[in-house]
Symmetry: D2
Subunit: 361 residues, 4 copies
C-alpha cells in the first residue's frame, strides 16, 4: 500500500524539523509538501535556515522546494502536519481542516469545546469529538492539536494516579529545555550561567490543558477533571527534554509502590492498544529507580523519545494522614520536541489511520 | 581598635574562598590563620588548589602558609570561621568551640537542641541559646552553624509570611548552583546539557532547618514551627545562585500585595537592627516586579550577594478560598556561597560582636 | 569643572550597555543623551530591552528617555560615543562627526586612509591624522573608530614584539565570547554543547586592522606594518572575554624571557603616559606565569577589564633556528566589551581631552 | 563462526564505555570479560559509577561482574581492549601483550621504536612492525596503542596533504571536548562560562605522534615525517568532539580545490581497502562546504563518529608565493571517544583479523 501524502507546515522550525526526521522513513506517511514562512518560499529545504538536530537532514528532503504556508492547497494531501507558529496557525490550519485532517503542535484550536487534545494513552475516548467537530463546523477534515510540550509529561504521569486514586491538588515546577522556545529562541547571552524563571503564558496553558486531557466525556462534551494544578515554569540551559518536579495530593491513599503498580497496569493497557503502531514506545511511562534519574541528556531519548520517564517517587510528610500517605512527590522527564510535539502528533495520526478516521484522497 | 584575630578552617574550598574574600578588608576581623586538609599543610595559600572566584586571591593572603586543620590551637584566635567538610567538622569544630566562638558552614552541630541556627533577620531571639550551650557543654566558646545554603533563601522569604499570616504547607523545588557542591564538585560531563534531579540529603536538611529557624523559643528550647515543607532539590548548570520555586499555603488570606507590604515591614525592622553592620545589605529581601526576574546571573550579586531576591509573586487558583487567596507562589534567588554560606556567617559574627558575645583574647 | 556632555548612540546593545556602565560615574563625561533604534524612541531606558550585564542599570540612567539615533542633534553634546550597528553607523556617525568628536565601536570608518584606529599604548602618533581628517572632510569634529574586539588583544600583545624584535608571520586562532555577537546574538540552541567555527568577516578585519594599528606614519599617512597575519575565528560558549592562541614568528631571535622584558618596558611607557587617566589600567599587558592561565571567567575582569592577559608563553620547535628561537607561542585574553569596545573607546576619549583635542560647546 | 572473546580493561571510564557500546553487537568480537580498578572488583557493571553516554548500558553488559584489572588472565581471551589510565597501563598491558594482542587507548607504549601507532587509512605499512615487536620482546601477543585523541583528526586531515604536496610547517590550535579528560574529569565550576587554555602534556604528544604516524618505514624502523608541528591545546565546554584550527604550509603549491581532490583520492583508497570492515566509515574524511561547519554537536556523529570532518578550507595570504599558494587553513572535527579512542581501536582490531594477525585461542 502506498504511503499517505503528507504536508508539513512550519517545516523549518524546531518542531518542523522533528516532523521531517520522524516522517522521513515512516511506513504510513510520505512527505510530499513542505511549507514555511514567505521568506523561505521557493528555496531548497536545506537552504532555509539553521538545522538544530544532531541527525542530518534526510537525503530525500534536502533538495525539496519549500513553499509559503499561506499557499497550501490542502486537497493535494491526505493529511497535514502543522508546526506553524501560533500567530498564523489559526487561519491556515482552519482552511486546511475544512478539507483534510490536520495534526498540529500549535495552540490555536486547543481550547475550543469541539476540539479534543488527544493523548492516546490517556484519553482515547476523546476521538469521538471528531464527528461533532466536523458536523458543527461543516468540515470535511478536522483539526487535532497536541498539548503544549510541558503539559505532555505531566498529563501522562498523572493519568495513572487520576484513574486509580483521584487527584486533589498538584504543584509542578518545570525546568524546560531550550528547544521548547523554537528558533532562534532564547539568546545564548540570556541563558549561559543562568535560569529564566518565566515563560510567557506557559503556566496557564499547562493548568488548563491538563484538566481538559484528563477530563471525561459527558454528553458529547469534555468535562474538565476536577482538581487543581499550580505551576511555575522556568527555562534551563538544556537542549532537549523538559524536567518537571511534581507534588501530587491524591484522593485516596497512595504509596510509591501503589503508584508504580498503577503505572504497570497503565503501560500494559498502552501496549495492548498501541504496540502495533510504528511510533508507539514499548512503555508509555518508564519508572526509574536510581535516585539520580531521570536526567535530560541521558534519558530524553528513551524509547525513541516517546516515553515519559518518572523517578524520585517518594512519599512526603506533607501528605501524611495518620498511617497512610495521600500524595507523592516525583520528577518526570519528557522529550519536548519528540513526545511533546512532532512525534507525539505522528502517533495520533497513526491512531487515526488505525481507527479508520482517515481516508485517502 | 585592632581587628579580631580570625582563623579560617577549610580555607581552600568554595566557602573557604568566600570567607577569605569577605574577610580580606573587613573592619572587625583579620585573617591570621589558614587551615585546610593535611594535603595543603605547609603550602602557600596560592598553591593549594583551584581558585573559583572571579575576584583574585587577596594580596595579603596569597603567600600565607596553610596548616592542617587538625593542628589548630584555637586559643591563638578570637574567633574561628569554619568551612570544613562535614566528615571532619564535628571533631575539630567541637575542639575549637571548647575555647572560642566558632562560626560554621558545616551541618555537624545544626540539629542539636542547644545549638541555634541563627539568621539575624529571622530569629535573633535564638542567640539566647548560646548561654545554655556553654553551660551544658562546659565550653568557653560556642558553635554557631549557619543553615544549609538552600535553606537560607527559603527561611528568609517565608519569614514575613510566617510572622504575619501563618503557614500551613510549603512546596519548594530548588534549582541549585554548582558552587553549592564545592570543589571539585559536579563533573562537567555530568551537568553539560543536563539537570541532576537529586542532591543527597538536601531535601531533608531544608525541611528540618527551616522549621527550626522559624521556630519559637519556649522555656529555653526551640519549638519547631508548625507547618509542613516538601522539597525537590535539583542541580542546574549555574555557577552561583540558588533559585527556588515556592508554593506557600498561608493560615490567613494573603494577597501578593499583602506579602509585599509584610516584606517592607520586615526590611524596615532589619534596617533598624542591623544597618550599622558591615555585611548587612540595604534590604534583606528585594522584591522584583519584572515578570522575568530574579535570574541568577543578573541578580545573585544584589547588595553584595546578601539579599534574597523574590519575584513572580502571584496568587494561584489552588489557593482560592471563596473570594480570598490563602496562599501564593513565587520564585526566590539567594547567593549560595555569600548569603548562603561565608558572608552570612560573617554577618552573624558581626552581630556577636555587636551584642557583646565576643571577648578578645 | 563640569563634565562634558555626552551622547550614547546604540545605547541598548551590548557595547552600548558597557558605555553606560563606564560613563555612569565618570569624572570627565556625563551621559546627557541616549539614542537607539526607532523601536526604542520615546521609551524609558529600562524598558528598551534585555540588559545583559551583572551590574544593574545605573540609577541615573534607568528613567532617561531614549530617542531614535537618526534624530540626534550633535551640537547638543561635547562628544558622541557610538555603538551603532555597522549598517547605520556610516551615515549617522558621519553626520555627527561633521560637528563633534565621535568615538565609535563600529567598523564603518575604520579602513579609510584619513581615519586612525587608535590604541593609546600602541600607536599614539596616529592621533596626528585627526587634523588631516578634519581638513580633508571639512568637519568640525572627527571620527575615531576603535578596533574590532578581536583585533584589540592581538595588536596589544604583538606590539612589544613588533617594536623590539620585528614580526614576520603570525597565526592566530580566536575563541570568541558570545557578547561579541551582540543582542540577541547567537541562539542558545546553536552554541550549547557546541563551537561555531566561523564568524562572518571577522578574520579579514583582524588581519587588516592589526597591520594598520601597528603601522608607522609616513608623510601624514599610515603605512601598514610589513608582516603577515592569518586567522581562524571561532565562537565559544563564554559570556565575555576573547581568548586567542597565537604563533608569532619574529624577525630577530626572541626568547620568552626577552618577550616578558619587552612587555615590562611597554607597560612602563604606558604607565608614564597614561596612569593619570581614569580608565587606564595599571598594566596594559598582564603576564601570567601559571601554566593554565589566562582563563576568561577568572581573568577578563583584571584591572577593570582593561588589561590584556598573556600566558602560556613558550618557545616552540617550529621557530628553532640553530641555537636560538625566532618566535613564540602564547595565549592571550582580552575583555571584548570593555577593553575591546566601550571602555577602550572611553580611554581614547580621555586621551583626547588630555591632549587638547576636545573643546567644549 | 563464533565471535572472538574479548576483555575490556578500564571498562568504566569514558573510553571504556565507548568500547562497550561499540562491541555490544559487534559481528567479530564478544565481550567476555570486564576489568576496572580494584574499587569496582566484584560489582555489577551497572553499579560501577557514572555512565556518561546517551545510549543506555547494553542489556548484555549491565549485570556482568567487573574484576580488578590487575587480576586478568590474558590467555582466557582472544584479544584485549585496554582503556586503562596511563599510570597503570604499562605494566598490565605489557603482561597481557606477552600472551595476546592488546589494542590500547593509553599512551604507555606509543613512543617505543618497535610499537606502531596504526591509523589504517594513513600508515597501514606500519603493521609490519608487529613481527619485530614480537621477536624483540619474545611476546606471543603484541600491543597496538592508538594515537592521542587530538592527534587522530590532525593526522588524518594532514595525510592527503603530506602524501601529495609535502608539508613544511603546521600550526594547530585545538578546542577539545570534556570527555577527553575522562571521568570525573574537568570540574563543572572550572569550565562553565570558561575556556581552559592548557591540557597537561597534550601539545607534546600531538607533535610527536603525528610525525610518527605520518613517518615512513625504513629498514624495519619508522622514520618520523620531516616537518614541524606547533600546537596550542585548549579545553572547551563541549561534551564530545575535538575541533582543531589548522594552518598548514605545504612543500608544493596546493589550492583548496587541489586539497579536496587529494581527499577524494584518499577516501577512494580507504573505501577500497576497508569498506568491508564493520567499523569503517563510508568516508575517512568528510569535506564540508558550508562556511559554518564542522560543528561538534551537529557533526561529531557523522558516519558513526568515525569520519574526520574538514571545513573552512581556504588559502591564506600568509601562504602566497607569487601566483600560487603554498598552504591552507582549515578547521577539522573528530569524535574523540569514537574515532579518537575506542571505535578507532576496534577498527584496527578488525584490520588485524582481516590481515590474519589474529589467531584464536
Amino acid at each position: 500500500m502506498s504511503r499517505l501524502h503528507s504536508a508539513v507546515l512550519g517545516a523549518t522550525g524546531v518542531a518542523g524539523q522533528q516532523f521531517i526526521i520522524e516522517l522521513a522513513d515512516h511506513p504510513m506517511f510520505e512527505v510530499t509538501g513542505l511549507y514555511a514562512s514567505e521568506r523561505s518560499d521557493g528555496k531548497r529545504y536545506a537552504d532555509c535556515g539553521k538545522w538544530y538536530l544532531e541527525q542530518p537532514i534526510p537525503g530525500s528532503i534536502r533538495d525539496m522546494k519549500v513553499r509559503d504556508s499561506a499557499s497550501i492547497e490542502p486537497a493535494q494531501y491526505d493529511i497535514i502536519f502543522s508546526a506553524l507558529p501560533s500567530e498564523v496557525a489559526r487561519q491556515i490550519e482552519g482552511a486546511c481542516a475544512s478539507k483534510r485532517p490536520v495534526i498540529s503542535t500549535a495552540s490555536a484550536f486547543r481550547y475550543e469545546a469541539d476540539v479534543p487534545i488527544i493523548m492516546p494513552e490517556v484519553n482515547p475516548s476523546h476521538f469521538e469529538l471528531i464527528e461533532r467537530q466536523r458536523n458543527e463546523r461543516g468540515w470535511e477534515g478536522f483539526v487535532m492539536p497536541g498539548p503544549n510540550c510541558t503539559t505532555v509529561g505531566l498529563a501522562v504521569a498523572l493519568a495513572p494516579l487520576h484513574q486509580e486514586f483521584g487527584l486533589k491538588r498538584v504543584f509542578m515546577t518545570s525546568l524546560q529545555a531550550l528547544s521548547g522556545a523554537g528558533l532562534p529562541g532564547v539568546a545564548s547571552l540570556a541563558i549561559t550561567d543562568n535560569i529564566l524563571p518565566y515563560i510567557p503564558k506557559e503556566e496557564g496553558k499547562v493548568q488548563k490543558e491538563t484538566l481538559k486531557i484528563l477530563g471525561g466525556l459527558e454528553g458529547g462534551a469534555i468535562a474538565d477533571a476536577d482538581f487543581s494544578i499550580s505551576c511555575i515554569c522556568t527555562r534551563v540551559p538544556v537542549i532537549d527534554g523538559h524536567t518537571e518536579a511534581v507534588f501530587a495530593e491524591t484522593g485516596q491513599p497512595c504509596s510509591p509502590e501503589q503508584y508504580k503498580e498503577a503505572v504497570r497496569r497503565f503501560n500494559e493497557r498502552f501496549r495492548k492498544e498501541y504496540s502495533h503502531l510504528p511510533s508507539a514506545p514499548e512503555e508509555s511511562i518508564v519508572i526509574m529507580d536510581e535516585e539520580d534519574r531521570p536526567q535530560p541528556r541521558l534519558d530524553r531519548g528513551r524509547n525513541g523519545g516517546m516515553s515519559v520517564c518518572v523517578g524520585r517517587i517518594h512519599e512526603d510528610h506533607s501528605f501524611r494522614r495518620g498511617l497512610s500517605w495521600t500524595g507523592l512527590k516525583f520528577v518526570l522527564l519528557s522529550h519536548n520536541t519528540k513526545k511533546g510535539a512532532a512525534k507525539g502528533g505522528i502517533l495520533v495520526a497513526e491512531c487515526l489511520v488505525d481507527k479508520g478516521y482517515m481516508k485517502r484522497r
